[in-house]
């Protein structure tokens, strides 16, 4: 458990040997996207038990899916093997492409590697036509008996796109709680022209100038010009009631290596009353969720929740309710435009090809089994002060251009550190009294920092980015000597926003605050290189 994780920018020249080693590693291991997963047309997965890690030190007996080496899947966007057969919660994110026309299919071969006493298992793919072969008949679909397998053939029509969930269809009240769930992403069959030109073109150019690798799965979430995006993150919400997991573990142990169908070879776990104590995003509780994807500390919880973005980038949020409860996911910093529910685009009734009709939400409720695709951005528009701390005095180093485009943003120079600045407030001061080389004469008397408590993600000044922060208050920020441990004034100095469940008791881990469904999203100035390779 690392309490704090950050993405760091280090001058390349200083660390050339380390960079070379990292490059060599990159050649042999997969690069991981911000919504990491596997792609292919034939996936092999095994339901099996393992212990997942919680930040209070608890190891919780769980069931999850592994992505097995026998299949053809590859990590998205690069060569190599992603499927090592390790059980994971959530299950592997399956990424498939919608065909240009007609229908395509992919298969999931599910092997039941659960203890015999756990009985049969299966997978549902809500929203899709599924054909099955093998296994035995279950209530909702064909099931795999202990040690056996079943093959699901899923039809993906050319109109399909977006984020979907999959989960166990056998004794779901227990098996989903135990961890048998995952995500399915369908990439649209075509890319709208708007997604590769204009703002999205310059945003991509700006990432390239800063040597950032673009890790989005596609330029658009749907075949719609309103569904373009520059960056993306996945958030799967679930809970754990430790009593249920403990009871399951005890009964499985007691049953031992019993014979399937034999007397006493079964478990009977009470799934009510339901008192969850762990509240997870992508299978991890805060602060573990802010560690890297595939961090070795959490072999069975590979996916993180650690979003970063630059001003003006349109960020796709893929949100899934995988637990039993609804969770109000509150995104600090701006609203989210809902694109779609359960992979169904919500378009205007009168102008469906151009206009969106999904609501704008600052709290996106996750509902069990339901997915939301939404677009978020942050620009600082309307702050009424210059977030970059610019100064009209050309002798001060903050002097910079801000030439507004037709929407009022500085997008003419993708290499500028104030690329996408909101120009109406350019040079407009916020602080009344001078400090450093930022403009003064503004409306607000900034407080004496010595009488306040400083947060671990406080960038050290009211301003965005190391340049503005150092010019305003110096290299330590207002918190000498190193109060901002996760977002240092000279390195990142981003604007940190808490993204969390607003049923606030869910931002706890087994009665401990902070924890649970909570992460810090960082808006980083262009000086900071956002590296999503981990």
């Amino acid at each position: 458990m690392n309490p704090i994780t950050k993405k760091t920018a280090i001058p390349m020249t200083r660390l050339l040997p380390a960079v070379l080693v990292a490059l060599a590693l990159l050649l042999t291991t997969a690069a991981n996207a911000a919504a990491p997963g596997v792609t292919g047309s034939a996936f092999q997965m095994t339901a099996k038990p393992a212990f997942v890690s919680q930040p209070d030190g608890n190891a919780v007996y769980s069931w999850g899916y592994s992505c097995d080496t026998g299949g053809s899947p590859t990590p998205f966007g690069s060569a190599g093997t992603a499927c090592g057969g390790t059980m994971q919660v959530p299950g592997p994110t399956l990424i498939v492409n919608a065909p240009a026309s007609g229908n395509a299919t992919f298969t999931v071969t599910l092997t039941n590697g659960l203890p015999t006493a756990a009985g049969n298992t299966s997978i549902l793919f809500p929203g899709f036509q599924v054909a099955t072969s093998g296994g035995v008949a279950g209530l909702l679909t064909q099931e795999a008996q202990p040690g056996g397998a079943v093959i699901y053939t899923i039809t993906v029509p050319s109109t399909a796109a977006g984020t979907h969930s999959y989960y166990s269809g056998t004794q779901s009240d227990l098996q989903v709680e135990m961890g048998l769930y995952g995500a399915l992403i369908v990439l649209p069959s075509s890319t709208p022209a708007a997604c590769t030109s204009g703002i999205h073109g310059t945003n991509l150019a700006a990432q390239g100038i800063r040597n950032e690798t673009n890790f989005r799965l596609a330029p658009a979430a749907y075949n719609h010009p309103g569904a373009c995006y520059d960056r993306e993150y996945m958030f799967q919400f679930s809970e754990i009631d430790p009593r249920i997991h403990r009871q399951a573990e005890e009964q499985i142990l007691a049953a031992g290596n019993c014979a399937a169908g034999g007397a006493g070879c079964g478990i009977n776990v009470a799934t009510e009353p339901y008192v969850p104590a762990y509240f997870m995003i992508n299978g991890r509780s805060m602060p573990d969720d802010m560690d890297a994807n595939y961090a070795p500390e959490y072999p069975h919880q590979p996916y993180n929740g650690n979003p970063h973005m630059h001003p003006g980038e349109l960020v796709l949020l893929r949100i899934i309710g995988q637990g039993r409860w609804q969770h109000p996911f509150h995104e600090h910093g701006n609203h989210v435009r809902v694109l779609a529910r359960d992979g169904n685009l919500i378009a205007s009734a009168t102008d469906p090809t151009h206009s969106l009709a999904g609501p704008l939400l600052f709290t996106t409720t996750t509902t069990p089994g339901m997915t939301i695709d939404g677009i978020f951005y942050w620009t600082g528009k309307g702050l009424n002060w210059d977030a970059f701390g610019h100064n009209t005095d050309p002798k001060k180093s903050g002097h910079a251009d801000c030439v507004p485009d037709g929407n009022g943003y500085y997008t003419g120079d993708p290499g500028a550190i104030n690329y996408f600045e909101w120009c109406q407030d350019h040079n407009k001061p916020v602080q009344a009294t001078p400090s450093g080389n930022v403009a003064s004469g503004g409306p607000a008397t900034l407080p004496d920092p010595n009488i306040f408590a400083n947060g671990a993600w406080f960038g050290g000044s009211p301003y965005l980015g190391p340049d503005a922060t150092v010019r305003s208050v110096g290299s330590t920020g207002t918190t000498p000597p190193s109060g901002t441990i996760a977002n240092s004034p000279t390195d990142e100095a981003g604007y940190a926003f808490m993204w969390h469940s607003h049923n606030e008791r869910e931002i706890t881990t087994n009665n401990i605050f902070p924890g649970g469904m909570l992460m810090m999203m960082l808006v980083d100035s262009r000086e900071f290189k956002i590296d999503e390779s981990n």
């Binding site: 309103g226 008192v275 969850p276 349109l314 609804q326 109000p328 609203h335 205007s348 009734a349 009168t350 102008d351 151009h354 206009s355 969106l356 009709a357 609501p359 704008l360 600052f362 709290t363 677009i375 978020f376 620009t379 528009k381 309307g382 009424n384 210059d386 037709g406 929407n407 120009c423 109406q424 040079n427 001061p429 004469g441 503004g442 409306p443 607000a444 008397t445 407080p447 004496d448 920092p449 009488i451 306040f452 408590a453 400083n454 947060g455 671990a456 993600w457 406080f458 960038g459 009211p462 604007y495 926003f497 049923n503 606030e504 008791r505 706890t508 009665n511 902070p514 810090m520 808006v523």
Partner: protein, 542 residues
């Protein structure tokens, strides 16, 4: 050895130097400038000017002369501390709470405590007493219930603690830099402690601003006398503000948190019109459950526009900050697809709207903030002791509309609670009675701040016309309204919604009739052990 000593002396000197530099003022202070860069003429900042056109046109901005100066300056001061509230079954419940430290008379009258500089920067007429305005004065003379002393009418809305900066006035160099009356944000801490300690309110003080306003909100942490073991910091998170800065977002992890004995002034240009809310962001499962939750709403520019509403919204397209079209995926009020006709198509300058709708679809006659919340009595009891509270077993048993449960929801005027200082304090200033003029429309600005579960509020008979959600107009990018009718709404903690109750059909909703808002979560119609109460109130047709 000698070298180390030298280092120590040097360090000490540095510390002293920094301390001197940084200590610009005392720890308690307020801010309410009479003019700013954005609102340069002080005389124009004490009322809302009519909206005559865009502030900036085209791509112009700061540094060029604005075409129009819109909006004004608004200020408010709140305390962060503790207090007690009275539940529907008579139980006194301990709160971590915000209380009013300005706009006291307005707050006691159930109004927003937000004021123009001329209101905020007004010295009190008499010495303020602990428990004010409850102890020294009633709302109207001699009216304070069961209080033995003759009382005067309380009508003062200034900032508690406000005092001339006499030290600065005595120094010619300094006095030249501040207003002649010496009101430069300096405060006398004694009245702040006298009034602020144990003056917690549930809900927290109401705030309301207009689009284009600059808002200065000062949070003053007076400490929690019931919990001397705690050194709780507090903050204000403006929930739902688009494009907030992390610095003023009120998240202690991402900014600064205000210690006991300190003041911090949050500064915002009013965001897009809508129903927002605010709360402390320190240990949210604890501080929100304990009561640090309030409402804030932003009124639209359209209220200040005279003429065709469509033309008014067209005028707003002239300023890139207020423009809304498909180039911005996060704006909700493009020009309406269908232009309104008839009496609702224009504003004579007196009509009120929830959003800049351009078609009058969100017009209302009266507005009511309605905050949904829940209290777990066990958590509040443990919160009053020195023991740590558990979160997993949190279970709300009081279900609150504006901090009250039925039948207190239908008690007019503020509720008072006697607290551990022996004095009665205004504890729950907002009644939940909805009074609609016959034939009129009421806007319910509903916010849910429950920390444990979703809550449903239903309307018997009068349909709920939902026009806004999460502080945004319900309209698609092509300009089609997506408003809908329902008889119940369900919200999570952290959501808001705008409902219009339209009783324009006086045959169905005649004067004198009473209707009900209540929760179909039937176990929420209770006050702890009492089986009838909870989340319910009355709608009166006047």
């Amino acid at each position: 050895m000698a070298i180390r000593k030298l280092h120590q002396v040097f360090l000490l000197t540095l510390v002293v130097a920094f301390g001197t530099l940084a200590a610009q003022a005392q720890s308690f202070q307020i801010q309410c400038p009479t003019s700013t860069v954005t609102h340069p003429v002080a005389a124009n900042n004490n009322s809302e000017p009519a909206y005559a056109g865009p502030t900036y046109t085209g791509t112009t901005g700061y540094g060029t002369q604005p075409a129009h100066v819109n909006g004004a300056i608004k200020c408010q001061q709140i305390s962060g501390g503790d207090g007690f509230a009275t539940m529907g079954d008579g139980t006194q419940t301990y709160l971590f709470a915000f209380g009013p430290l300005s706009g006291l008379a307005d707050i006691a009258n159930g109004l927003p405590g937000t004021g123009f500089p001329k209101d905020f920067n007004t010295l009190p007429p008499t010495t303020l007493m602990p428990g004010d305005p409850a102890t020294a004065n009633g709302l109207t003379a001699n009216s304070w219930p069961s209080y033995p002393l003759p009382t005067g009418a309380f009508g003062w809305n200034g900032a508690v603690g406000l005092a001339p900066d006499t030290d600065c006035l005595a120094n010619p160099t300094c006095s030249a830099t501040i207003p002649a009356n010496g009101l430069d944000g300096h405060v006398d801490p004694r009245p702040i402690m006298d009034v602020g300690v144990m003056n917690g309110n549930m809900p927290a003080p109401l705030m309301a601003i207009d689009e284009d306003d600059e808002f200065f909100l000062t949070l003053t942490n007076v400490g929690q006398v019931m919990r001397p073991d705690l050194f709780e910091q507090h903050t204000v998170h403006f929930h739902g503000y688009p494009n907030a800065s992390a610095f003023y977002d009120g998240v202690p992890d991402a900014s600064v948190a205000i210690n006991i004995g300190g003041s911090f002034t949050y500064y915002y240009l009013a965001p897009d019109a809508g129903t927002y809310f605010w709360h402390c962001h320190i240990t949210p499962p604890e501080h929100l459950q304990m009561g640090m939750v309030g409402q804030i709403y932003v009124r639209p520019r359209q209220n200040r526009w005279v003429g065709s509403l469509f033309a008014g919204l067209q005028a707003q397209q002239g300023d890139l900050r207020t423009r809304c079209d498909s180039s911005d995926i996060l704006c909700s009020n493009p020009l309406p697809a269908v232009q309104a006709v008839g009496p609702d198509a224009g504003n004579d300058g007196t009509k009120k709207y929830a959003y800049n709708d351009g078609d009058g679809s969100t017009r209302y006659d009266v507005e009511y903030p309605l905050q949904i919340h829940g209290f777990d009595p066990n958590f509040h009891f443990v919160g009053m002791t020195f023991n740590p509270e558990g979160f997993t077993d949190m279970k709300d048993k009081y279900f609150l509309l504006n901090g009250r449960s039925y039948p207190d929801t239908v008690t007019p005027g503020p509720l008072m609670t006697q607290t551990t200082d022996g004095l009665v304090h205004f504890s729950q200033p907002l009644s939940s009675i909805i009074n609609i003029p016959a034939g009129g429309k009421a806007l319910l600005r509903i916010a849910d701040l429950d920390v444990t579960e979703y809550q449903t509020l239903a309307s018997l008979e009068i349909p709920m016309h939902v026009v806004g959600y999460n502080a945004k107009l319900l309209r698609d990018q092509a300009g089609n309204n997506l408003d809908y009718y329902t008889n119940s709404i369900t919200l999570a903690g952290g959501e808001s919604l705008d409902v219009i109750l339209d009783v324009s059909d006086t045959a169905k909703y005649p004067s004198g009739s009473i209707f009900y808002l209540y929760t179909p979560n039937l176990d929420h119609l209770s006050n702890d052990a009492e089986n009838f109460g909870g989340l319910m109130t009355e709608v009166n047709i006047n």
